[in-house]
């Protein structure tokens, strides 16, 4: 047995690699996404069960609060709507928020049950793991949110084809931003034990401050600041303005639009803010996944 402490001669990777590695990354993103969608689709009972919470909010919370406000109608730019109608897009946003973060955090389950290792040792750029997971979570969240559109007649909200078509990209942007946040958290979490903390100290505050349940106008300063720091706010607002647009005279929806420094934000700008946030979160996730001990 001789020990040779000389240097090891190794090969260099072939340079044809670039094109094939882009293709490989795209394939990997696709399959990571596809696996999540396949599992989501297999678990249709869960999809139905997850509608229970939004329904409770809408039917019981919405009706109850509506009644205690004396059937209170919000007046906005020549039209008016009830609290149930006001909260309806907020509940769609809620479904998107929770399923986006939950969906993306399934990465922690993958780690716990070992499957993540199979992905992490594969000869792919680990950005594919983060992007595939974020897109998977976003797709699930969009489906969960858009299913709720079937309840529109029940709450007396009129939807038009253009408003639904416009809703798709905005729902996706919100879903993408929040699932990227979920992947970023999941990339650092080693077990499900931290999940309660994320739920209580991140997801619930994000939901309450997002404007899903009440308008973000006329709030105390400290709360105004917190609501503007909540990324979900920039997704709830466009959802509401689009969903209610067909029920109200044109221009009326700006009356409850979210303001920043006294200006009502255009929904396009809100979408850009969300995309920026999602991009940063995705970047954090990619850095975390690329790290090796």
């Amino acid at each position: 047995m001789t020990t040779d402490r000389g240097a090891i001669t190794t090969a260099r990777p072939t340079t044809h690699g670039l094109r094939s590695s882009v293709g490989g990354t795209l394939r990997a993103i696709y399959i990571v996404w596809y696996r999540d969608i396949l599992r989501f689709w297999r678990d249709r009972a869960r999809i139905l069960a997850s509608l229970a919470q939004p329904l409770l909010f809408l039917v019981i919370f919405g009706t109850g609060l509506s009644s205690s406000l004396g059937g209170g109608a919000f007046a906005a730019g020549g039209g008016s709507f009830s609290y149930v109608q006001f909260v309806y897009p907020g509940i769609i946003g809620m479904a998107v928020l929770f399923s986006a973060i939950f969906g993306a955090m399934s990465i922690v389950w993958d780690r716990e049950f070992g499957f993540l290792k199979e992905i992490l040792v594969a000869p792919i750029d680990r950005s594919a793991v983060a992007i595939g997971k974020a897109l998977g979570g976003a797709t699930q969240a969009m489906i969960q949110g858009l299913i709720l559109l079937i309840l529109a007649p029940l709450v007396g909200v009129t939807l038009s084809v253009p408003s639904v078509l416009l809703l798709l990209p905005f729902a996706f942007v919100l879903a993408f931003a929040l699932s990227s946040l979920g992947v970023a958290i999941g990339s650092r979490m080693r077990s499900m034990q931290g999940f309660q903390i994320v739920m209580n100290f991140l997801m619930m505050p994000m939901f309450f401050l997002s404007g899903a349940l009440f308008p973000l106008t006329g709030l105390p300063d400290w709360m105004t600041i917190l609501t503007r720091l909540d990324p979900a706010s920039y997704g709830m607002d466009p959802l509401r303005r689009i969903v209610l647009s067909a029920s109200l005279p044109s221009g009326a929806t700006d009356a409850f639009g979210m303001t920043l420094f006294g200006q009502v934000l255009p929904i396009g700008l809100e979408a850009m803010i969300l995309l920026g946030f999602g991009g940063v979160m995705l970047g954090v996730a990619i850095v975390n996944f690329r790290h090796r001990d």
Partner: protein, 333 residues
């Protein structure tokens, strides 16, 4: 041997491979050459540094010092090139239980860039190899432990790797299933010519390997074929129980110039010829000899001789706890 020869011969090379976790030095400068097409066993107790070494060779961890190459590529500088050329069977299960066997393999084929035209046929082949063809479309959650392990071996082979790493591939399986798995592994080496690098703490499995490295406390203490290693033990191993082991030990040392080892309330002596030794022992010691047995040296004896302690699982409980704890709270991977 010239450098060129060695590059062709060795599929895994390590020089001074070291891994520290804070204060703890888990791997302390390992040198290793694994030849193409051999079954190489990495034998040692839990916590000896086996899994850390395998994790470095598989590019899951980075070495603190030293270097290693697998299939011709440096594990630290070109991890993707290494990953494309190795297959892995982990100690802990890593299948998606909510997908079917075939879907698990399809996922693998995608992330390992198996060409679309070959995907279906390769999946068919590896399922055939581990005799799971008829269960291809069953959910993995319905599989037994042995079936899951077979599927993981099939998956590890799907992209025709040069080296298949197996970290304790038969841990927790019953003896019959273990033999079965070994049948597949030998078949792989013989038909596909793949190099197998495995860790184990089962001595009987280590015997199946072409060559073994014994690792203890982060160091390789011996390396060779099972028979070479057994030759390190001088002849036969005699186990003696007496009325007074202390007196007996002193007498044996005086009479035979060998130093007995006290192990589990009995004495162990290595002698060239047990058949001649035992009658003399019984005749010439003054204390009562209660039992004597002898056997040809096993790897257990090698391990005990080299490390001064037996390769047992006493620490397993605590180690497994640490492993779980590490998974739950450990640093980033």
């Amino acid at each position: 041997m010239t450098d060129g020869d060695r590059a062709r011969e060795s599929v895994i090379e390590a020089r001074g491979l070291t891994k520290r976790f804070g204060e703890l030095e888990a791997v302390k400068g390992i040198d290793l050459d694994v030849r193409r097409g051999e079954i190489f066993g990495f034998l040692g107790p839990n916590g000896a540094g086996k899994s850390t070494t395998i994790n470095i060779l598989c590019t899951l961890m980075r070495p603190t010092a030293g270097s290693a190459s697998v299939a011709g590529f440096d594990v630290d500088r070109h991890p993707s090139e290494v990953r494309a050329r190795i297959g892995l069977v982990f100690q802990d299960p890593s299948l998606d239980a909510q997908l079917t066997a075939r879907e698990n393999l399809e996922f693998h084929a995608f992330v390992y860039s198996v060409p679309a035209a070959e995907r279906a046929s390769r999946i068919g082949e590896v399922l055939e190899m581990v005799e799971l063809t008829d269960r291809a479309n069953s959910m993995v959650m319905t599989f037994s432990g042995g079936m899951k392990r077979r599927l993981e071996i099939a998956r590890g082979m799907l992209h025709t790797p040069e080296v298949l790493f197996l970290d304790e591939p038969t841990i927790g399986l019953d003896p019959q299933t273990r033999r079965h798995i070994w049948g597949y592994l030998r078949g792989l080496r013989d038909t596909a010519g793949v190099t197998l690098f495995m860790t184990t703490h089962y001595m009987d499995e280590a015997e199946e390997c072409d060559r073994i490295a014994i690792i203890d406390g982060g160091r390789i203490v011996a390396l060779g074929t099972p028979s070479e290693l057994k030759a390190l033990v001088g002849g036969d191993v005699v186990t003696i129980a007496t009325a007074d082991n202390v007196i007996a030990a002193a007498e044996i040392q005086q009479l035979f110039q060998v130093e007995p080892l006290v192990d589990d309330g009995s004495l162990r002596v290595e002698v060239p010829d047990a058949a001649g030794f035992i009658p003399r022992l019984v005749r010439e010691t003054t204390v009562e000899v209660r039992s004597v047995s002898f056997h040809r040296p096993s790897l257990d004896d090698v391990f005990l001789k080299l490390t001064g302690h037996a390769i047992r699982d006493e620490g397993a409980g605590a180690n497994d706890m640490m492993r779980m704890f590490g998974r739950a709270w450990g640093g980033r991977r």
